[in-house]
């Protein structure tokens, strides 16, 4: 930066006494540094009884610490780990945690308090001034270092033999790529994985709570139901990955209340099924207000209107919740009529 441009007179003059020496009061300059005030004694410095008291306080603190450590060991040995006690205002808490924590806390705190009290009352409190030295090296040292460096560089002949220099640079530039390539197998490539879920034509909607397939008449107006695709069980190897995309939220609206035409088409007797995964950053959105038909995300408050194609009416989400097209199979169970037509969950670059 071009700080040389700034004229010296813009910088304030150094004030205060020169070089750490205790300044002499200057009658011409009332603002001059009067220098370090004289040291004043504490009670402990002049009264041996006070000093003795301090000594005893410090020793007492160290003793309390020892006792607390014994208490810690005793608590560890004798208190049953699952014992619960009621202590106001903490509530029903673990006796072990409380006893261990307090004894450990006291044992440590008293060591510290003793040491600090010792330092404050019995060690010398005379203030000492220490000189500072400039961080920058003197011009001679600077010149010497520069000369040494040039000498070394010259002796290495790196400047004279550019072939060595350039090939070395090339080798050093390339070698980290091995490391970069080694990172490739950290994970599989996205391909189309974010676009598909387990939902497919004919998959029944299975109630999360009862693990039974749902019938239209199970879904009452104003109720809220969560569903997963038939066949996905909690103990499946990839349950977490699949439910992270396939989780479904089902509500029943009065068909007259559905404002969006496609939503009505994709519903069954007013039963609509939406992805439970928020399109913002993927929280399972499900704070359904049955009177307003709004559903709110508990993470960042994106609000969607389920009676209007689940479009965003508030908050940071960028697009509507994907709807699953549903119908009824020959046995009268609710089924999907295909996968979601757009990727569920948060948007990503390739989503389009």
């Amino acid at each position: 930066m071009s700080s040389q441009d700034i004229p010296e007179e813009n910088l304030p003059a150094e004030s205060g006494a020169a070089h750490g020496a205790v300044g002499v009061a200057d009658e011409h300059n009332p603002f001059a540094d009067p220098g370090l005030p004289p040291h004043e004694h504490r009670i402990q410095d002049i009264d041996e009884r006070a000093a003795k008291r301090s000594e005893r306080t410090v020793a007492l603190l160290f003793t309390v610490s020892m006792l607390a450590t014994l208490g810690f060991i005793a608590s560890y040995v004798w208190i049953p780990n699952d014992k619960s006690i009621f202590i106001w205002p903490l509530g029903h808490i673990s006796a072990m945690n409380f006893a261990l924590g307090l004894t450990l806390g006291v044992a440590l705190f008293c060591i510290g308090a003793g040491a600090v009290h010792w330092a404050r009352t019995l060690m010398s409190d005379a203030e000492i001034a220490d000189e500072r030295h400039p961080i920058e090296a003197s011009p001679e040292v600077r010149a010497k270092v520069h000369a040494d460096f040039k000498q070394g560089a010259k002796e290495s002949a790196i400047g004279r033999r550019p072939l060595i220099r350039n090939t070395l640079l090339g080798a050093l530039t390339l070698v980290p790529f091995s490391g970069l390539f080694l990172l490739r197998d950290l994970g599989s490539l996205p391909h189309e994985k974010l676009r598909h879920t387990l939902w497919a034509k004919g998959k029944r909607l299975v109630n999360m709570n009862t693990n039974q397939p749902l019938r239209p008449e199970d879904i009452a107006t104003g109720s809220l139901t969560f569903a997963k695709p038939d066949g996905l069980e909690e103990n499946n190897e990839d349950f977490q990955n699949e439910i992270a995309k396939a989780a479904l939220m089902i509500v029943r609206l009065q068909p007259d209340n559905i404002k969006d035409k496609r939503e009505l088409e994709w519903s069954h007797q007013g039963i609509v099924a939406y992805s439970k995964i928020c399109t913002h950053v993927g929280c399972p959105i499900s704070l359904y207000e049955q009177q307003t038909h709004h559903v709110l995300c508990p993470c960042h408050q994106s609000t969607f209107d389920l009676s209007d194609g689940a479009r965003v009416i508030f908050g940071p989400a960028g697009h509507a919740l994907p709807q699953l097209r549903i119908g009824v199979d020959s046995e009268g169970y609710l089924q999907a009529l295909g996968d979601f037509e757009e990727p569920v969950g948060p948007a990503f670059w390739e989503r389009g």
């Binding site: 199970d218 104003g222 049955q290």
Partner: protein, 269 residues
């Protein structure tokens, strides 16, 4: 935005939706409710209904209409069932004091006998969910862990991990469930009061409800164990952060002031 919010907050809007929702719930329930419960002809029962009608005319009719058919100030109660009455009146929400984003829980005005009479009267207007029996909602013999899983799937999104409550849109909220009677929790799941969706037996079985009640009793009651100490409201990192700043860093700064402070000097005499 303001206009929208105002319209949605308008008592009328809530009333209209509530009316539709409750009517539908009740209607649906009729299909499943045991027929015997809806009918009671003996004289004791009709006396109860008569008493309930009197109470209704004094305390409820101004908003819900003389025959429970609803007015602009309150939804129709035909077919909401005894469970809804028992919940709304039994938790003090009804009779409502003033319209707002949400009618909050408050001091209960009627005693249980009166509530039963009111419920009987409303139930006589049209069949709906009846008040659950103790056997249905008592947490004994329930699977607490299953209840926890169900709670996290169906309830925690509004009521928080352990039922401490949370915010909804435009000033509405899901209340803290501590101290709510098991019966009322059961009724709330069944009837879906105000903006809460209902969880009818068809999707959340009676056993499921019992499990949830047992879970709540275990994690959000005055008997709940918090082994680590102060629960800090059970609200998670926000209250923990606040505590860490005020009591953690606060205490340490106070200690630092003591460590760095000068010891008192002896007075010059």
């Amino acid at each position: 935005m303001k206009k929208l919010s105002a319209r949605r907050r308008h008592p009328l809007a809530a009333v209209v939706v509530l009316l539709l929702a409750l009517a539908a719930t009740g209607g649906l329930y009729t299909a499943f409710a045991p027929a015997s419960k809806a009918k009671a002809d003996d004289s004791a029962q009709s006396l109860t209904i008569e008493e309930g009608k009197k109470l209704y005319e004094v305390g409820c009719a101004s908003c819900h209409g003389a025959g429970g058919q609803g007015t602009t100030d309150g939804p129709s109660l035909v077919g909401v069932g005894a469970a809804a009455v028992d919940f709304q009146v039994g938790t003090g929400r009804m009779p409502a004091q003033q319209p707002g984003a949400q009618i909050p829980r408050k001091k209960v005005i009627y005693n249980q006998a009166e509530i039963d009479q009111l419920a009987a009267y409303i139930a006589s207007l049209g069949a709906g969910p009846s008040v659950p029996t103790k056997n249905q909602y008592s947490p004994e013999g329930a699977d607490i862990a299953k209840g926890g899983e169900l709670f996290r799937t169906n309830c925690a999104q509004c009521h928080n991990f352990t039922g401490k409550g949370g915010a909804l849109t435009h000033g509405k909220f899901a209340p803290d469930l501590e101290g709510v009677q098991p019966k009322h929790i059961y009724e709330a799941m069944q009837t879906g009061p105000q903006n809460m969706p209902s969880f009818p037996d068809t999707t959340l079985s009676s056993k499921n409800k019992k499990d949830i009640i047992a879970y709540l009793h275990s994690v959000n009651s005055d008997q709940t164990k918090n082994p680590g100490g102060l629960e800090l409201g059970g609200l998670g990192p926000v209250s923990e952060g606040l505590f860490g700043w005020i009591f953690g860093l606060g205490v340490l700064i106070a200690v630092a002031v003591w460590v760095a402070a000068r010891t008192a000097k002896a007075k010059k005499s």
